[in-house]
Symmetry: none
Subunit: 235 residues, 2 copies
Amino acid sequence: MKNQTLWQGIASDLEKEIVAGSLARGSRLPTESMLSQRYGVNRHTIRKALSHLAEKSLIWSKRGSGVFVMQKPTIYSMGERVRFSQNLLDAGRTPSRQKLSLSQRLATHEEASSLKIKKNSKVHHYEGISFADDEPIALFHSVFCSKRFPALDEYIEDLQSVTQALKKCGVNDYIRATTYVSAVAASSLQANHLRIKPNDPLLCTTSLNTDKSGTPIEFGRTYFSGKHVTLSYEA
Amino acid sequence: MKNQTLWQGIASDLEKEIVAGSLARGSRLPTESMLSQRYGVNRHTIRKALSHLAEKSLIWSKRGSGVFVMQKPTIYSMGERVRFSQNLLDAGRTPSRQKLSLSQRLATHEEASSLKIKKNSKVHHYEGISFADDEPIALFHSVFCSKRFPALDEYIEDLQSVTQALKKCGVNDYIRATTYVSAVAASSLQANHLRIKPNDPLLCTTSLNTDKSGTPIEFGRTYFSGKHVTLSYEA
DNA sequence: CACCTATATACAACTAGACAAATCTTATCC
DNA sequence: GGATAAGATTTGTCTAGTTGTATATAGGTG
């Protein structure tokens, strides 16, 4: 605690301000230049302190824009019924989604066998980003059998919710049948979407939702930012 | 005067240059490498000489930057009315201040009870460095009740003077009610600001200023560099 | 021996400056 | 009002130079 370097002192000082709340969650930090003046050190020393805080996932930075305080890590609960919005509302976060693409294409071999449909069947492909308090926490893509849900894409477009859209298709409830979890390194594209660095760890969940009778409904993959999300398997 | 070591000879040589003025106050010395070349000795021998001069407070050094000649020490007078600028002007020095941060936050327990305001009240927090002739002599931080002085921060920002800013808020005079003095060791951050070494002694004054009726106005701490400042309590 | 002086080498911490890349701001035009 | 262009800000990256610290070696002195 005593003989610490300058950048360590600055880092712990800033960390105190963050946890004390005088630097609010999601707010912007002073620029590196301002901080270097405040602490009377070179900008590189500030950057060392900031990179330390970034590794601890307390802040994140965007070139040309600034350095920001991160939101709280999210606990994403994985139970029998996994509902993105309700999940985050339960955790006191504000959920939102951003559509990246919504189209129809032929099912891959994996998708077809998981959904128990014929090879080369058409599927709806829905791809997007999940946010919590305007912070991106996950990239997802799901496929649904086009034959079974002909107008699903329009419903999703309108309602911005998979659960609601499926209801319109007559599926009032669906259940998480299987979930596989693995860890992968983020591609540069994924990293950019999730505001993390390439090769940062991602939690990759591959899941299948079915109706109560066990008929497959939806198959998809979600890549959670490992720094923002902890998956919870309680109950 | 004869049997002196290499480093003693170099030290007294440099000291002569300083007092003679050929190495001006505030100027930078040649780098240790250059000095070791000039005197034909190892760099460590130079460092031994320099550290001797540093202990005598003739020079100070900054890692990565260089070694500099120090200014004269300051006598800081503590009476009923403590006014930074006037104080130094009286001592024939040129005062200046540098703002490090100016923000609002919740009062700590100590601050609230000293200012006689409610817990969790908002306060203006003003933090900075005091200079005499461009040499830092103290780090200060003060808090003022935000409710009582709503626009104080803007006034301080504009006027760069607490006394003047308080006048704009209707406080024409204030009196030093209490002052506690203690000695503490400098943290690495404090040392960097004051151009001294970590664990060098600081004079820590904790003070409360009130108006004539005894109502608390300002509560603050000032850390004087023990090497640069002597506090004076003459009547 | 113990201690100080001095040399030699290597690395860590920090400063200094410059430039590139991304972003934000502002003025201008239609 | 909205699109565009120019300029200013801000973070990212790189090279170079300076002081701080640690270790090892050797000679001289009380």
